[in-house]
Subunit: 349 residues, 2 copies
């Protein structure tokens, strides 16, 4: 018997999630020697991903949305890396293997056959931390990769504007844009993040959207550069999206990733959408899991993890919480003042 | 010598154009026997197109935009059908030929060599009225055709929602959508237009956006049909665009054509753009003249004029003004209460 921490979805939040109310940690006993149902495996969690889209799952189950609701009073679920402790009767797995995919927010889990077989075995020849496999080498990295490659379509010499740039999608977007020979304008919400963007991620232009007018920053960049930026990777919507529409180049591409504000159910009118016509823009959203075919997964894993390991891409900034808390790490995703920043993860190593 | 009516761009409008102020008709003498510069041709105007985008050209020349400014105190210009009265020294043309392209708003014109050679000879084997060659078989028809075909990508059984449906782009969109096996939801701003849409253009659902809530109409349609509409051809922006974002299907396509409101410089915030992500929408604008390659022109002329002539596409509704006025016909484009409706043209036949 071992102690098993579990993070429970306890209450539907109004607005921002509240640790200890929206989410509550409880502890149960877990029998490592329990008998396993046919094909099920028993795993230990190594890393769990915390992502803003999870807020959208914390709703009444009767409300339809683009992602299923989380089950109230049940464990939170999201992308994870787990280690096989017992493969049971399932010949596809072996003890010691590391697997990537959906799992419960608990130290130990029994994963039923069908779900287990949807997980991907990580060889990790690159030697990346397990947390990175749920971040830059996981779903957020795939989001940045798919969006920039297939919607942004960067050409050498273009400039890419990315908002929410210190988030996990933003960081990989910056690395991919630089690798494609593009310059980067990056925005974030604190001076520490701006410093990191400038000094560690080497962006050509970084600005704090809370203290600087994005319209002025973008207009100045376009003026200085002699040509306007042509790709906007939008992680935030709102005023930065309005500014991007006003200043993006003709035939520009808007990669719609997310909107921190809208996750809380607020509505922000976007002005100037006539620019979609006047500048012949393409504006496209996507849910990465609906787009990643087996071939694209292979291509992603062949490109991105090696680039992260070799240092070709800047080492991702992660905000690691050791072991489960009451949801403080999740709530911090919605607090742009949080002094810790980077991809939010729980680690159990 | 003949009398030549000329419509002059007289004054930059604030808001809607005012006949007799924004535009003024004057009359000059025109020498039909004048000597022609090298390669120039002398033509008589048969049809002139009046389009909302022309409002955007009525600005101070120092303001950059997606279409060049019209020259103040000079004749208005737009798409036209003209007849060659004298081909002069230009061996590419013959007396009696009908030509399509840009021309001045006057009864008679001398067209310089280079501009003349940019005009397309219309054979009109289909026997369409010349006015139709600047409407359903002209730029507005090409806009509908390109937008629906390459951005909307209609599949049999889908529903297409088109706003500004009695405009020239809307009418051709309806015909093309029906030809593709789609149903059509169409909106317009008067009961007469709604009647025409239902009875003549046979749309499956028509509504007056001034008296009906587009959100309710679209939600009811989706409910009744058992699947949501999946293409929105947007001629108006504003509240109908917001409603379309809320009710369009996943993987929907928004074909951005125009925004009557924005032509006057007003700003309307669009809510719910997060749906671009949540529903994985594609939203794309285009300027048809930048997209129509010679191959696409051939394809368009092979498809659309014969379908109009054969009755496969509903006969387009045109609002014909005989001879030039002081700009009343242009101003009426921006008056949704106007009792005459359909593609606005001047005819000189």
């Amino acid at each position: 018997m071992v102690a098993n921490d579990i993070l429970i979805f306890n209450e539907i939040p109004k607005g921002k999630p509240v640790p200890g109310q929206t989410t509550v940690k409880k502890q149960e006993e877990f029998d490592l020697d329990q008998s396993l149902p046919d094909g099920a495996i028993l795993v230990k969690t190594l890393a769990l991903s915390l992502d803003p889209y999870m807020r959208g799952r914390m709703r009444d189950e009767s409300i339809e949305s683009y992602v299923p609701a989380l089950k109230l009073h049940a464990p939170i679920e999201n992308f994870a890396v787990v280690e096989v402790l017992r493969a049971g009767e399932n010949a596809k797995f072996q003890k010691g293997q590391k697997l990537y995919g959906y799992s419960k927010f608990q130290n130990y889990s029994v994963i039923p056959k069908e779900q287990a077989e949807s997980l991907r075995v990580l060889e990790n020849k690159e030697g990346l931390p397990w947390t990175t496999w749920v971040g830059s080498a996981g779903m957020p990295g795939q989001t940045a990769w798919y969006g920039l490659k297939f919607i942004g379509k960067p050409q050498k010499g273009e400039t890419v504007f990315v908002s929410g740039a210190m988030g996990p999608v933003g960081q990989v977007t910056i690395a991919l844009a630089h690798a494609a020979g593009c310059k980067v304008i990056a925005s974030a919400g604190s001076e520490e993040k701006i410093k990191y963007l400038r000094e560690e991620l080497k962006v050509e232009c970084a600005f704090n959207y809370k203290t600087e007018d994005p319209n002025k920053v973008l207009a100045d960049w376009n003026q200085k550069e002699g040509r306007p930026f042509s790709i906007y990777v939008d992680n935030v919507s709102g005023a930065q999206l309005t500014a991007a529409l006003a200043h993006i180049a003709r035939r520009g591409r808007i990669v719609a990733i997310g909107s921190v504000v809208d996750y809380h159910g607020e509505q922000h009118g976007i002005e100037g959408v006539f620019q979609v016509v006047a500048k012949e823009l393409t504006w496209e959203g996507f849910l990465v899991l609906n787009r990643m075919t087996p071939e694209l997964f292979e291509q992603f894993y062949a490109e991105v993890p090696p680039a992260l390991a070799s240092g070709k891409f800047a080492r991702p900034k992660e905000h690691v919480t050791i072991g489960l808390d009451n949801g403080e790490a999740f709530a911090a995703l919605f607090d742009s003042e949080a002094s810790n920043f980077g991809k939010a993860v729980y680690s159990f190593e």
